[in-house]
Each structure stands twice: as structure tokens, then as C-alpha cells.
């Protein structure tokens, strides 16, 4: 089994469109994981059927029992997250600010603060129109702990891939360089970096690659919209060479991405196009790279 994690640092570089196309090409031979739990989109392109749902609990939130509370203010004093406020002469917890650290409940002299586990999202298993199984999730509104939900999606997808003896696990990662991305990357065999030929694309590629490098994961790159800016493309290529990152493909600026998306189709299904050919070649190239990995 080879785990390929697709990340980009910057949003909107085409990461999910590529990931969904690869998934479509590989059919039932791959398991798909959408780790962008903050703004999950892959299910739209792969027509996921949401056949199994599970509540995801993580972290806790303080709840003050107003009957027993003596309004001494000890809780408010120790809270470092400004989560306890007095309204109408009563101490109350703002659940959005509460970190679930328990400090207030430990110092309350009358034990009037309970810690309640919080549902922070939904976890799903689906079949896709490509015939593959897909693991995905939806983070609750204004919820925290996306890193833990990402870890859950990844772990379940990995188990599924191994149990069903599938060849590939294709993971759509999240943007940025913080906790969800760190969770997405852990244990990957190959990081596929999707960037674009813009100054922001290059800037974000360099930052996210430093993270990938610290995990010691083999890396490959697709430069999207390479014809937007020849100078930046050159700079990206120089960076890839310097860091020994394999250049998989340079893909031209193409509104087919948006057009296919508007019909909820992967690029592969949308009909013959240069883009389709590029993506087919890219996936073959990526598969060849993974064959050489131990």
C-alpha cells in the first residue's frame, strides 16, 4: 500500500480537482480520504453516498450549574481563554472560547462546573461513483479540534486500505502549515505538492515544503497555471531542482477545471481535453514514482 498525500499550502491551486481525477482513474484500486475537514469538497466530485455516519466527539466544554453556583468568581479568575463572563449577575461559559482544560471545574469550591464532551463533527464512510471507498468528515460549525478529526479520517482510511488490500490511499490534505496539515502528512509515502505559477503559490510552496521536509517524506510537484507567469514558473522549477523534488507536470491555466466542477464531474469524465491527457500522464508518473519507494 502506498499513501499519497496531496497538499498545496495555498488554497485554490486545484488540489481537490487533481485528487478526485486520480481517484477516478484508479477506480476501486484506491481508498480515498478527504482530510480537508474544515471545508470538505471531494464528496461533491466523487458523488459520495454517505452510507455510514458516526458522531465525532473530541474535547470538552465547561457547563456551570446555575442552581449551585455561588458566583464567587474563582472560575473566571483562573480561565486563560476569557471564556467565563457574568451576565445578569450569573457566571456563564462561552462554549466557543472554552478550551476544555478543566481548570475552572477543578478550582470551583462548590463543584458547580461540569465538563461535557462535545460533538465536534461527523465522520463518514462512502462509496464513490468511481467504485472506491472514501473516508471523509464534516467539522461542526465553529468547532475546534480539526487536527484530531483529520487524524481519525486518516487512520480509518489506512485501516480500510490495508484490510481490503488496496494498492493506493489517496489523501486530499488541508491548506496551511498548521495542525490539520501536520495530521494529514503523518505516515505518508509521497507528498504531492500542487502549486500555481503565482508569487503566492511559490511563497506557500516553500513554506509547506519545509514542513514536508521535516517529516522526511519523498515529494513531487505539479505546477498548475504555469503559463500565467513564466518567471515564477522558472523560479518554482529552480526551487524543485534545488530541493530534489520531482516535477510531475506543468499544467496550463484552464477554465475546464471550473466548468467540469460546475457539472460535478472530474476532469476525466468531462470529455477529451489536453487537461485530461495531462492528468492521465501525471497519475501514471506518480504511480511510477511510488513503485521506486521502499
Amino acid at each position: 500500500m502506498k499513501e499519497i498525500v496531496i497538499i498545496s499550502g495555498k488554497g485554490g491551486t486545484g488540489k481537490t480537482s487533481f485528487a478526485a481525477s486520480f481517484a477516478y482513474l484508479e477506480k476501486e484500486n484506491a481508498v480515498i480520504a478527504d482530510c480537508d475537514v474544515d471545508a470538505a469538497n471531494m464528496h461533491l466530485l466523487l458523488d459520495a453516498d454517505f452510507r455510514y455516519q458516526e458522531d465525532f466527539y473530541s474535547g470538552e466544554v465547561a457547563v456551570i450549574d446555575e442552581e449551585n453556583c455561588v458566583n464567587c468568581g474563582d472560575c473566571k479568575e483562573v480561565c486563560r481563554f476569557d471564556a467565563i463572563h457574568v451576565t445578569d449577575d450569573q457566571h456563564r461559559v462561552d462554549p466557543i472560547s472554552c478550551e476544555g482544560c478543566w481548570y475552572c471545574s477543578r478550582v470551583c469550591p462548590v463543584e458547580a462546573i461540569d465538563m461535557k464532551t462535545q460533538k465536534v463533527g461527523d465522520f463518514y464512510l462512502s462509496m464513490t461513483k468511481a467504485g472506491s471507498e472514501m473516508v471523509h468528515a464534516k467539522l461542526g460549525f465553529a468547532a475546534e479540534n480539526s487536527g484530531k478529526l483529520v487524524a481519525k479520517v486518516k487512520n480509518e482510511a489506512k485501516k480500510l486500505t490495508l484490510a481490503n488490500k488496496k494498492e493506493f490511499l489517496i489523501v486530499d490534505g488541508s491548506p496551511g502549515v498548521g495542525c490539520p496539515v501536520i495530521s494529514s502528512l503523518s505516515g505518508a509515502d509521497l507528498a504531492l505538492l500542487v502549486t500555481e505559477a503565482t508569487v503566492s503559490g511559490l511563497h506557500d510552496l516553500k513554506r509547506v515544503y519545509r514542513l514536508v521536509k521535516s517529516f522526511n517524506i519523498k515529494s513531487a510537484c505539479i505546477i498548475n497555471k504555469y503559463d500565467l507567469n513564466a518567471d515564477v514558473t522558472k523560479e518554482i522549477e529552480a526551487f524543485l531542482e534545488e530541493e530534489n523534488i520531482i516535477l510531475v507536470a506543468k499544467v496550463a491555466y484552464d477554465e475546464t477545471f471550473s466548468k467540469a466542477l460546475s457539472q460535478a464531474k472530474t476532469i476525466i469524465e468531462y470529455g477529451d481535453s489536453n487537461l485530461k491527457t495531462e492528468i492521465e500522464k501525471s497519475w501514471q508518473h506518480i504511480k511510477n514514482i511510488t513503485k521506486e519507494l521502499k
Binding site: D38, N41, V199, S214, L261
Partner: protein
């Protein structure tokens, strides 16, 4: 006046709108733009200015003082984040897991775990002719963006008067970092694009804003590239559409070079004018 520019989906044009809008508004008002996308800060690429201030930002984590510790294990017991662990006769601390709640430090009977600062990123303040720009930048490998975001907001609040227009370029998504970047603002502009991804993520962002009881409106970027579903959704939900920015490859080309758009593309300037008028009418 504080305005956050956010979006569920990444790459919809938050930074393009933040940088252009701040530059446009700065022609006739005091404006500060703060880049709160601390994981991948990009705004600086579009703004040339002189560095006037910089500082390291930190979070507080406990440090173990062996000599005073009685190994009672209270610290491990009270930490909900597995950041403090007793192994044999040692107390191990994992700073990246620490949420800085101070419980271990303040509940330690011997005061053996003082909280000390640990660097998580940097804040930089730049000045151009008529625009102030503040950037937060998270160190690579740090997991928690929120403490840095709140320090950047704090800096902006302290440094600039009530009369200054404060624009915050938020990170993508709908979780903790976005909430931190949005909750103290007077208004949130949600930038989206007319595709199923844009719509899906806009809905998530709208629900998040509603949980926060936050006032918000929508700017549709790359208008014309997809379908009408965003407009239909906004109309059905009674969400104001502040402006529609036409899809235009020239915008992508200017953006790719790190250039501002509105001085060169009339339609873009018109959209900024609509946003400025809308924002001027709030409150």
C-alpha cells in the same frame, strides 16, 4: 471599524480583495491591513513598505524545576492535553501539545512548573505612504495558529485608533483560526466563487458566522465562470451580495506577479467601490 475578509474555501480571492481594498480605501482614510493567515501569509507580496516594527510572538508553556518537585503527579493529573507526563522520576513537557491553560503551573503545590515564553512566530509592521500593514507569521512546525492570531489582533487594537479602518485577511476554513480572526469584527466579508466547491464552503462559512452571531455579506469573485447557485442561495437566505467581480484572466496574471489589480482593471475598481460604499454604510 473592523472588517474581516474570510472564505470557507481557499483560493477564492481573500488576499486579492484584502490587499486591493485596503490600498483603495487608504486613498481617503486611515487604514491598517492585518494578515491573519499566519500559516501562509501572502498579503505582503502585494504591498511594498518599510519595516517599522517587529517582534517575536510566543505562547507560555511550563518548565520543570527539578529541585523543587516532589513528583506528586498533580501536573500530569490536571493536564487535559497530555502535555505534561510523569515518567519515573522525571516530568516531561511537550510544548506543542500545551494549550497554555496554566492549570499544571498554578495547581502545582511546590511551584515547580513556572510558565515561560516559547516562540511560535513573528509579528511585523510595515508602512507604505498611506497604508499600515501588519503580518503574523507562524513558525514552521508549530501547530497552533490561534495564539499568534490573537496577538496580532491585540497589537492592531492597541496601536491604532477607533477611527482607523482595520481590515483583517483571515485564514481559510471554518475552524478555530477563522473564528479567532472574525469574532471581534464589526463585519465579515465572505469571498466565494460560483462553483459547487465555492457554494459548499460558503454554506459552512455562513453557518459559522451565524453561530458567532456575526454580521456578514458575500462577494462573488470570478463571476461568470460557473453557475448561478451562489446568487440563488444568497437570495433565498437573505444574505447581501456586496459585489460581483467578473472572471478575467488578466486578474490572475496581475495577481501572479504580486501586483494590485484595481489600478489596471476598471471592473475591479468598480467592485471595490461597491464594497467600500457598502462597508461605509454599516452601522
Amino acid at each position: 471599524m473592523k472588517i474581516t475578509i474570510a472564505s470557507g474555501k481557499g483560493g477564492t480571492g481573500k488576499t486579492t480583495i484584502s490587499t486591493n481594498l485596503s490600498s483603495y480605501l487608504a486613498i481617503g482614510a486611515d487604514v491598517v491591513l492585518a494578515d491573519l493567515d499566519v500559516e501562509e501569509p501572502n498579503s505582503k507580496l502585494f504591498i511594498e513598505g518599510d519595516l517599522v516594527f517587529e517582534k517575536a510572538c510566543d505562547k507560555r508553556v511550563p518548565r520543570w524545576i527539578k529541585e523543587e518537585c516532589t513528583l506528586c503527579g498533580k501536573c500530569e493529573e490536571v493536564c487535559r492535553f497530555n502535555a505534561v507526563i510523569k515518567v519515573g522520576d522525571e516530568i516531561l513537557i511537550f510544548p506543542e501539545l500545551c494549550h497554555s491553560c496554566y492549570a499544571c503551573s498554578e495547581l502545582c503545590p511546590t511551584g515547580s512548573l513556572p510558565m515561560i515564553p516559547q516562540k511560535i512566530g513573528e509579528l511585523k509592521h510595515f508602512k507604505t505612504e498611506n497604508l499600515d500593514f501588519v503580518e503574523g507569521r507562524l513558525d514552521i512546525g508549530e501547530e497552533q495558529a490561534v495564539p499568534l492570531i490573537s496577538q496580532v489582533i491585540e497589537y492592531v487594537d492597541e496601536k491604532f485608533s477607533q477611527d482607523t479602518i482595520k481590515l483583517f485577511d483571515a485564514p481559510p476554513g471554518t475552524s478555530c483560526p477563522v473564528i479567532e480572526a472574525s469574532r471581534g469584527s464589526d463585519f465579515v466579508i465572505l469571498v466565494t466563487e460560483p462553483t459547487p466547491f465555492g457554494l459548499n464552503d460558503l454554506k459552512l462559512a455562513v453557518e459559522t458566522m451565524r453561530v458567532l452571531c456575526q454580521k456578514f455579506g458575500v462577494v462573488i469573485n470570478r463571476h461568470g465562470i460557473g453557475d448561478n447557485s451562489i446568487e440563488e442561495y444568497c437570495n433565498a437566505e437573505g444574505i447581501p451580495i456586496i459585489a460581483k467581480i467578473p472572471n478575467d484572466r488578466r486578474v490572475a496574471e496581475l495577481y501572479s506577479k504580486g501586483e494590485l489589480i484595481y489600478p489596471k482593471i476598471q471592473e475591479f475598481e468598480t467592485a471595490l467601490k461597491q464594497i467600500a460604499e457598502f462597508v461605509g454604510g454599516i452601522k
